[in-house]
């Protein structure tokens, strides 16, 4: 599903964010990206979403070299990739249902699709009863569930999550990880950057450790350290 071949990303001032990274992530895998701050986890995720392009190497998503994708095709790539933020990035003036519907509306889906898919995804994340609430009326965990619902409502092949439990307490984090686990069981490939060792240790999934831009560990059913 995702393949990186000798990928190097350098930022201004010769800061090497990723160095010669080669990795292969299969369909339906759940992968944790771990490592200290500045190790390249966020860059890894940004490259998969074509928010950045590497200086060297090639990246394949669903068999397609995304480095060669012309600009107008990038939005269509992103429709196959859900994105979950650490700080949720919910629209405060929209209700839960409207926040989720927004993701469908801006890719041109009509009311019929929206009316069918939004309640279904809210049911999946356990927020059916709160679909008319505004984000400020929800707890942090509930807001992250809305963010996940928005990322997954279009049923993407891949879900990228950048520190999704970073702002949550341990108990709430467990609930979020269960939800991501269910999404993964449906067949979605999940790549999650995290600092949260308890989450990684409890899930026992594949762990890719980055350090100063290099892959220093790639372990099936691994732990944080």
């Amino acid at each position: 599903m995702i393949k990186m071949e000798k990928v190097t990303k350098v930022f201004k001032g010769d800061v090497v964010a990723l160095r010669d990274v080669t990795i292969d992530i299969g369909k339906g895998e759940f992968v944790f990206l771990v490592g200290p701050s500045g190790s390249g986890k966020s860059t890894f995720i940004r490259l998969l979403n074509r928010e950045d392009v590497p200086e060297h190497g090639r990246i394949f998503v669903a068999g397609r070299d995304i480095g060669r994708l012309s600009g107008w095709r990038v939005p269509y790539l992103r429709r196959n990739i859900g994105y979950v933020f650490q700080d949720y990035k919910l629209l405060q003036k929209k209700t839960v249902a409207e926040n989720v519907a927004f993701a469908l509306e801006v890719i041109g889906k009509g009311p019929q699709v929206i009316n069918r898919q939004v309640p279904a995804i809210l049911e999946l994340v356990g927020l059916s009863r709160k679909m008319d609430r505004f984000p400020h009326e929800l707890s942090g965990g509930e807001q992250q569930r809305v963010s996940i619902a928005r990322a997954f409502v279009n049923r993407p092949l891949i879900l990228l999550a950048d520190e999704p439990t970073g702002n949550l307490d341990p108990t709430t984090s467990v609930g979020i990880m269960r939800l991501l686990g269910r999404i993964n069981e449906i067949g979605t490939t999940v790549v999650m950057a995290t600092h949260d060792s308890s989450v990684v240790d409890s899930m026992r999934q594949r762990v890719v450790e980055l350090d100063r831009g290099m892959v220093v560990r790639d372990q099936a059913r691994g732990v944080y350290e």
Binding site: N49, E51, G71, W72, P75, Y76, L77, R78, R79, Y83, K89, L91, F102, A103, E105, V106, I107, G108, G110, R150, A151, N154
Partner: protein
């Protein structure tokens, strides 16, 4: 695929969120276009009032309505041979009657009295030297000639009106160009604020796969709406200017020159279309600059 309802809703919300800035933009665009429209209307009105005296024509030789062929030929010969005449143009009875009808179109009672036979043909004469004394001397050579009814001169009033119109027109034109530049920048600024207010939305839109144009169109439409509302302000101003200023001049008694000081419907339509076209141009430039500078995908 674009959702028409989505685009309209987002454009409306953008305008509403920045309502004060949007109003300021519409007023500025409106004032600058109103100045431009005013400049155009006064030019049209002055041109209408001084139509016979355009392009350096300093004197007109009016012929009798029943002028004979020999008399007509004699005046033509004299105009051809006179070293004081640079060029001349003959306006026959039919053309003269058309001009007459246009001149008095608002006063049908005058038109009822005259027929084509009652309107004289004339020669428009451009002298080699526009000095008033030389022109008067030239005109005196035609006065009293057989078939010549009278000779009229452009005179100081017409030249003063034309000069004043040119100068005032230049000031209005330059002023409106400066204001139109300001309007473009104001549209750019309003959209930059709108884009800033919706940064999170835009980021989400990009990441869930909205196309570049889907993100851009509501902002560009917002600029266009501001430009078009400005055009409506300017067209209202144009209508007021025409009905309550220019038409008042032409109704003034005793000033024959001002009788022709008017703007007909077709000229008014042309000015208004130009105003709308400029409004669209200003909006498109401002919007494009804004999205290019602040919506870098």
């Amino acid at each position: 695929m674009f959702s028409f309802r989505y685009v309209l809703r987002e454009t409306g919300q953008n305008l509403w969120r920045n309502i004060l800035l949007a109003v300021a933009t519409v007023v500025t665009v409106g004032v600058s276009l109103a100045m431009f429209g005013g400049f155009m209307l006064f030019q049209v009105a002055v041109d209408s009032a001084t139509a016979r005296w355009q392009d350096g024509v300093e004197l007109i030789v009016w012929m009798n309505t029943d002028v004979g062929t020999d008399e007509d030929a004699s005046v033509r010969n004299q105009l051809d041979e006179s070293p004081g005449v640079e060029r001349w143009e003959y306006v026959d009875r039919a053309q003269s009657y058309e001009e007459f009808k246009e001149f008095f179109e608002d006063t049908p009672e005058v038109l009822e009295i005259f027929t084509a036979e009652g309107v004289p043909p004339y020669f428009r004469v451009v002298p080699t030297d526009p000095d008033p004394d030389v022109v008067e001397e030239l005109g005196s050579q035609f006065k009293g000639k057989p078939g010549v009814r009278t000779v009229t001169f452009a005179g100081d009033v017409i030249r003063d009106v034309q000069n004043l119109s040119n100068r005032a027109g230049r000031v209005l034109f330059i002023g409106s160009i400066i204001l139109l530049g300001a309007s473009t920048l104001l549209i750019l600024n309003t959209l930059a604020v709108a884009i800033g207010n919706r940064r999170t939305e835009i980021e989400i839109m990009r990441l869930v796969g909205a196309t570049k144009w889907f993100i851009r169109v509501p902002f560009m439409l917002e600029g266009l709406v501001q430009g078009l509302l400005g055009a409506v302000v300017a067209m209202t101003s144009n209508a007021l200017l025409r009905n309550y200023v220019i038409d008042q001049f032409s109704d003034a008694d005793g000033l024959q020159l001002l009788a022709g000081f008017k703007v007909d419907d077709s000229a008014m339509l042309q000015v208004n279309l130009l105003v709308v076209a400029i409004a669209v141009g200003v909006a498109v430039i401002g919007s494009n600059l804004a999205v290019a500078m602040h919506l870098n995908e």
